[in-house]
């Protein structure tokens, strides 16, 4: 089935056109700088025709979407003859609140519910809604469109893990609770990891580590999310490129008072000026940070150490929460491509049955692979994530009439 997956961010629209069964990618790219007043939006795309970079004439997300769709059918070697060849569209939605426990076919009710959660994800849900709205108009009502939520996979968490220890009314009246994010990625890599090991997800305890610019760790018991490091927002949990992760909450009120900051300014400090960038003063990008470490920048080294320690701390917490695990999975930018970080994260854990094979760890590639030794009690795997493939899989299951609403059914 040919599926177009769209991912509207706060100023970008990513897309991937793929064949859902084979996960074969026909075209992929992004429109950046949407809504920028200083420069036109830019379209960057890669497919069998090679790489393309163009300015986008249209306005906003509608203009970006029209540019993307035109690129799929226009010109020599276009991946599609007609937009009718797109059999269904999948939309990645940041926040599904506590309503959506799985991907769903989009109708008016679903749109209204996503709108209801816009205040929980003000930078992401409104652009996604704009794209859904325009897609429904362009493709017409008969084309299947599916919403896939970053939060859905974590809806299996027990209350002990999603209710914060603050007055209960904030949860009951305002929906302030842990939601968790990166759900599509954690679900995808946990499924792939079980397949790699030739076992059922229903017999495994796993910790999955999504370590990219945004980073989160997830405790997965028998295939379902039991706990995850991101919380009410994607700011919580482990240290990230420019996000602080968990900090003493009193720091926030102290800084706001002393520097007379508004909530929006404080939000910017924690989301865009903190994390590895904030500590190092160099960069939130781990590659640039490591270059600074290599030339003796002590704060860069400190930032790197804080990042890795926060990951170890979270893995350790989930190891105890799950009373031991069978599998640990590393994925996303750092998890897939930084053997040095993986080595430091897992060093000295032999007493816990975690034993890394350093040669396997150094191997480079895009394939799912084992980096633990054959006698390691815990399997440690690298599984490249592919959120669009997971969304396309859900789309094709929904198209086939499969009920995916029960997270415990296989």
């Amino acid at each position: 089935m040919i599926v177009l997956v769209l991912n509207a961010g706060s100023s970008s629209l990513k897309f991937k056109l793929l064949e859902s069964e084979s996960e074969c990618v026909l075209s992929r790219g992004v429109v950046e700088r949407i809504g920028s007043s200083s420069a036109p939006a830019r379209f960057v795309c890669t497919d069998k025709r090679g790489a393309v970079v163009q300015d986008v004439a249209g306005e906003g997300y509608a203009g970006a979407l029209e540019h993307v769709l035109a690129s799929l059918v226009e010109g020599d070697g276009a991946p599609l003859a007609s937009l009718d060849d797109v059999q269904a569209v999948g939309h990645r939605i940041a926040h599904g609140g506590d309503v959506f426990t799985c991907s769903v076919a989009i109708d008016d009710d679903v749109v209204a519910t996503i709108e209801r959660f816009a205040e929980l994800a003000p930078l992401h849900n409104p652009p996604a809604l704009a794209v859904i709205d325009h897609c429904r108009r362009l493709f017409g009502p008969s084309k299947l469109q599916v919403a896939a939520f970053d939060t859905a996979f974590h809806q299996t968490m027990p209350a002990r893990n999603y209710v914060y220890p603050i007055p209960y009314r904030y949860y009951a009246d305002m929906g302030i609770r842990r939601y968790g994010f990166h759900g599509t990625s954690h679900k995808y890599v946990s499924r792939r990891a079980a397949e790699f090991l030739g076992k059922s997800r229903r017999d495994l305890k796993m910790i999955t580590c999504h370590l990219g610019a945004g980073a989160s760790v997830c405790a997965i018991d028998h295939g379902v999310s039991m706990d995850t490091s991101m919380g009410f927002t994607p700011l919580d949990g482990i240290v990230m490129g420019t996000r602080s992760g968990s900090v003493d909450p009193a720091i926030i009120t102290t800084i706001m008072e002393r520097e007379n900051l508004t909530p929006a300014q404080m939000d910017a400090v924690l989301n865009r000026e903190s994390g590895m960038l904030g500590v190092s003063g160099v960069s939130g990008d781990l590659r640039e940070l490591k270059e600074a470490v290599a030339v003796g920048n002590e704060r860069a080294e400190l930032a790197y150490d804080i990042f890795l320690t926060s990951i170890r701390r979270m893995i350790g917490a989930y190891f105890f929460e799950l009373a031991g695990v069978d599998v640990i999975v590393c994925t996303a930018g750092v998890g897939e491509n930084d053997p040095y970080a993986r080595r430091l994260i897992f060093r000295g854990l032999e007493p816990f049955g975690i034993r890394i094979d350093q040669e396997r760890n150094m191997e480079v590639g895009k394939a799912d692979r084992r980096i633990s030794t054959d006698d390691s009690t815990v399997e440690v795997l690298v599984v490249p994530t592919d959120e669009e493939a997971e969304i396309a899989r859900d789309v094709s299951l929904i198209a086939a009439g499969v009920d995916i609403s029960d997270p415990y059914s296989d």
């Binding site: 027990p158 229903r202 018991d221 379902v224 039991m226 059914s409």
Partner: protein
Amino acid sequence: MIFEAMIVDDEAPARVELTNQLERTGRVHVVSEAVCLQEGIAKLRKGGIDVVFVDHNIAGAGTTMLPDALPDFPKVPMFIYMTAYSDVMDDPFGMEPLGFLVKPVDNRKLDEIVALIEESYQREVVRP
């Protein structure tokens, strides 16, 4: 006779602890685990389970899921309910449990329950 057991509990440490306690008796072998009723039912459909230790507060409780699924089970296992409170003795799953165990489980109480399981099994076997 060594009984084959399933533990249904969303707290992994509780499952591990109970598994170790049951294995210690030498009379019960834990062959399956589930984190919720739905998963437990799916695994019971495959058969091979003599006794189920299920957390009283497990997700999906208060429904008729288990009785509804009974016809699908190759054999109907015995049920033991696990609770965190000694005064909770109701039957949210409608399975007429053989007994209750308060978590964390006392080894002596567990031995009594295992004796009950054996008695119940004997009764079933000798029933004409």
